[in-house]
Amino acid sequence: MSLMEIKNLHKSFGGLSAVLNFNFNLENNELVGLIGPNGAGKTTVFNLITGVYKPDKGNIDFEDRSLVGLHPYDICKRGIARTFQNIRLFRDLTVLDNVRIAFHKDVQYGFLSAIFRTPGFFRGEAEMEAKAREFLKIFKLDNKRDEIASNLPYGEQRRLEIARALATRPTMLILDEPAAGMNPQETQELMQLIKWLRQEFKLAILLIEHDMPLVMGVCERIYVLDYGQVIAEGKPEEIRNNKKVIEAYLGEEVN
């Protein structure tokens, strides 16, 4: 059984159909790419999966249970985490706090325990900090844990966002253009990181990316979206030679 199965997903904004009859499936521990020209509806698909938008029609099953109609925070608790195309960190908070907030859904002490500072509070906080620092170490951000997130260089902000998403302990990670704004060297490192994360955390990863070497390099399967519809699906080499895909990106040949 697939980890995620999407059937006939529709979403329109006013008269514009952003996503049309979208079908998709994702296996456990699979790494799938979603590509397409600008405005094809890729981010809308992500927003539908994570509950930011409600679909007009269709169904999204995750671990055999529907996600449609759930709040984003419930979907996060079900095990889906994401990053954003334009980085959305908690900008005025420290690097450490950014990650610690991701642990809040599993907070070990109660509200009154926090007010009265019971031993449970101190234990819970110490545990949260230790776990957060573990994640920061993986992403080589541990030495910057007390810095304000918005003061980090761009590449590190991207890494922090992935660290924060992983800290929610997802089974599926959704990356929205993780390589945007990175130089080739950083992109290369990111590629290694994505591969490694998938192994280490047993993750299924879905990624949107415009950087073709990256997509072709890491993804096992690729979906191509144009005008809200899937125009091709398959292994990277199949996609590379697909006529429809080339048309969508480069236009038709003129006779």
Binding site: P72, F90, D97, H104, A114
Partner: protein
């Protein structure tokens, strides 16, 4: 903001400092070393601290612009006076009822209005604050527009000291916990917070209810100190006064709110000797502060033990 170790020595030291502070002021009041003029200002100061710190939880930490704080103060004031003056219950019952009633009002108003954002929320809370006032004006049982007179003076320095302390402890401990971080994440980025598993609506309402509860506490203390309450005392100008303290102190800084509450109470008292130009001076000082320090006196920083230690030990 890392305070994870529990230290008994520090706890004992803090309690000792607080007891000393309380006893010293109590002694000064009993022996009339502190004149009545200063005593009144000291009391206003405590009430303003409670109001500013609780509004700061809503406006500063949760990032939800509320302009109805005086409304919750009114609920607290009236409910407590009904308890003590009309039903002859002890003051403690009045105070607790005031907190509960204000918290309930906060919940009822918060659930529908907190769906709104920014300016829209500000206007909706402003409206609700005014509704509370107008409703009170039309209830004869509580004296209508002329309010209730002859309220027994039950607010003592002990009550004020304990109330201010409890407000500060609850809000500081809340903010410096995982629940507090959840509240702050709502201010930082609501969408990202939701996707990190945080039920943003719940935390907005939570902050709103706690803020309203302490405003109710301040209302009860106020009513039983100044002999008279009437609906007009709690109009939107009162809400603005509290907001000014919060913005002046720095949105999202509890110590900032405390400092600003002390500063504004002192300023208001000092300017009483210049009645003609009082409001002009008051406004001018605020404008100057905002031009030279737009983030407020403290920004979103806190003044903690470390800062105090640094100031104490000279430059380091």
């Amino acid at each position: 903001m890392q305070i994870y170790k529990h230290s008994w020595t520090r706890f004992v030291a803090e309690v000792a400092v607080l007891v000393a502070l309380f006893t010293l002021v109590q002694y000064a009041i009993t022996t009339e070393l502190l004149s009545q003029y200063y005593e009144i200002n000291l009391n206003s100061m405590c009430i303003n601290i409670i109001l500013a710190v609780s509004l700061n939880l809503i406006n500063g930490f949760t990032g939800q612009l509320s302009l109805g704080h005086a409304g919750f103060m009114a609920v607290g004031a009236y409910v407590s006076v009904i308890m003590t003056n009309r039903l002859d219950l002890p003051f403690i019952a009045g105070v607790l009822a005031a907190c509960l009633a204000a918290a309930l009002a906060g919940f009822i108003i918060g659930v529908p209005t907190l769906r709104l954002k920014g300016d829209y929320l500000a206007i909706a809370t402003l409206g609700f604050g005014e509704i509370i006032r107008v409703v009170l004006q039309n209830i004869d049982y509580v004296g209508g527009p002329s309010g209730i007179m002859g309220i027994e003076k039950l607010t003592t320095w002990g009550w004020l000291f304990a109330s201010t302390l409890i407000t500060l402890i609850v809000i500081i401990n809340l903010v410096n916990s995982s629940y507090g971080r959840a509240i702050i994440s709502v201010r930082e980025d609501e969408v990202a917070a939701e996707l990190m598993g945080i039920n943003t609506t719940r935390y907005k309402v939570m902050a709103f209810v706690i803020g309203a509860m302490f405003a109710g506490l301040a209302g009860a203390l106020y009513a039983h100190y100044f002999y008279i309450i009437k609906p007009d005392t709690f109009n939107f100008l009162k809400s603005f006064d509290i907001l000014v303290m919060v913005v002046l102190g720095g949105l999202g800084s509890t110590t900032g709110a405390v400092i600003a509450a002390i500063f504004i109470t002192t300023l208001t008292a000092a300017l009483q000797s210049f009645p003609a130009i009082r409001m002009i001076l008051y406004a001018l000082i605020l404008i100057i502060v905002m031009i030279y320090r737009p983030q407020g006196l403290m920004g979103n920083k806190e003044m903690g033990r470390k800062t105090l230690a640094r100031l104490w030990g000279g430059k380091k």
